[in-house]
Amino acid sequence: MQSPTYLAEGLRLPTNALDYTILAIYFVVVLGIGFAARRSVKTSLDFFLSGRSLPAWVTGLAFVAANLGATEILGMAATGAQYGVAVVHWYWIGAIPAMVFLGLVMMPFYYGSKVRSVPEFLLQRFDRSAHLLSSILFAFAAVLIAGVNLYALAIVVEALLGWPQWVAIVVAGFFVLAYITVGGLSSAIYNEVLQFFVILAALIPISVLGLKKVGGWDGLTDSLTESHGDNFLSAWGGTGIGDPNPLGANWLTIVLGLGFVLSFGYWTTNFAEVQRALSAKNLSAAQRTPLIAAFPKIFIVFAVMIPGLVAAVLVPKIGTAGSDLQYNDAIPYLMQELLPNGVLGIAVTGLLAAFMAGMAANVSSFNTVFTTDIWQRYVVKDREDDYYVKFGRLITAIGVLASIGTAFIASSFSNIMSYLQTLFSFFNVPMFVVFIIGMFWKRASMKSGVWGLVAGTAAAMVNYFWIYKQGIIDIPSDQGANFVSAIVGFVAGAVVMVAVTLFTAPKPEAELAGLVYGTRSPGLEEPPATGDDAWYRKPALLGWGAIVLAVICYLPYSF
């Protein structure tokens, strides 16, 4: 199996002083945001959760940007080049329903209960063992994923700009460390909002010029139909159960594995995402955070899919032994081929910004969980608030250093996204099953949480590393195996939770107020802020609007 992140030789970009000026301005602004945000950090709540005071459009764009790391962008363009239009599944069924569910159904419990993190919710709903286990798993995964980002960044920067890997790692690591340590979550979120616009300014010109080069959408589809067949341009073509298709998945595993389990696990229980919503200024803004994020998310797929498809036309052998280019090279290749200096600088800046934001989202959620859920709860308790702000800053630095160390695990999978999703299916899937049962079934016992987590994680790992990797059941691709592992983990977690609940004590009813469906937390009845009753701010309308839009988007690619 080839190493994923090696960009082909000869992708060096013809950057000049203009491009570097644009990049330098960005780095200055990034640091400036950190230092300007410093004076707003007074309490630990300011540092870890922006004092629960940000407006919905800011948290919403940060919510989508936290996911729009460069591994996601390069990985999804790679998926487009490899599997064709099927990449839309990761957006329209693999994100939108989960984001809407988070906003409409789960957020009142998350935000209303005033928890500061996802594991803290488990502490309230279940017990300390579920809390500690999920905190440690999350902290571990966050550092690992931050490391993946950093490693991928170093490889890409080396290929594109010719910087040695260690220089890229030190520079990017330093900037992320500096702006989060100084400005806390506000600084991370503000930088994510900025990154969102810069990355769009990078991707849109690439898509437009790429389409022009291959003769527009018609030229693109004609070439691909001829070279790859009809199904390459269809979302659902060839996904009947038993049909062979390059994705290695059928409609059932796509809907259940990707659309339900993986996606709900990622979007609703991954604290790197949920943290953005928890920092919103009131319940309405918290609910709208993922809903506002859903609309750009629906359309971003075009800005990554089109470069992927264009690359598949221009380099027909991409990703095979007959070509120097890997699937992950799609976007860098088009940058090199199409962008003149100026826009090229914007694109390089966007890519670096996306790498740093992808890393920063994980670092800023890691420091929160490590400080409030692990350190403050189990190690050094009951100190004054100031101490935890200081500790948060220290652990941010340690987290960044640790992620540099873990960066090299990324090298044994053929596709960055595959790797990330494998991790998510092991860590997030059981989290999701525990959440969903805990939120909707009052009887689920205190002990059932931790056993659901253990069983789900173990089952997903056994399925992936033993049943799939050892070839006991034949699944055609890593992606397909991920989907199946996710479903297995979900079912195992659910079964074990129910079984454990039958034999152990429920949580006292009084302690469940505001945590379980059908209960309310005291104080939640605060009146809506002025203006929040405007029709375009109604969560239900935003949420269902996003669902309808996603369905409409599917139509042209489904028949």
Binding site: L45, V115, V193, I204, K212, K213, G342, I346, P522, G523
Partner: protein, 98 residues
């Protein structure tokens, strides 16, 4: 309700973010105006080689103008709908005067 509820509510009343955090619209607006100007100027001086590379589209000009418009949009929005003015100078405990 729980200890947690009390703890977080207490921290919320001491929080300084709402009062002291600057408005991100100013930064987005400023950066995109600067980028817009730089890239638009690069578009004015686009060489034949640049144009040929970019499929005969003056991509610097168009991208630059689009970024300029986005930057101005944020600055105008900020001007028309400013946040409630924080008064950090007069408030000892960091809460904005309502």
């Amino acid at each position: 309700m729980s200890e947690l509820h009390r703890e977080v509510s207490d921290l919320e009343t001491k929080s300084a973010t709402a009062a002291r955090l600057f408005d991100i619209r100013r930064i987005i607006g400023g950066l995109f105006v600067i980028y817009g100007v730089i890239v638009t100027i690069a578009g004015f001086f686009a060489s034949d080689e640049d144009l040929k590379k970019a499929q005969d589209v003056n991509i610097n000009l168009w991208t630059g103008l689009a970024m300029l418009v986005l930057g101005l949009f944020f600055l105008v929005w900020l001007k028309l709908r400013p946040l409630a003015a924080p008064e950090p100078e007069h408030t000892g405990d960091g809460r904005a005067a309502e």
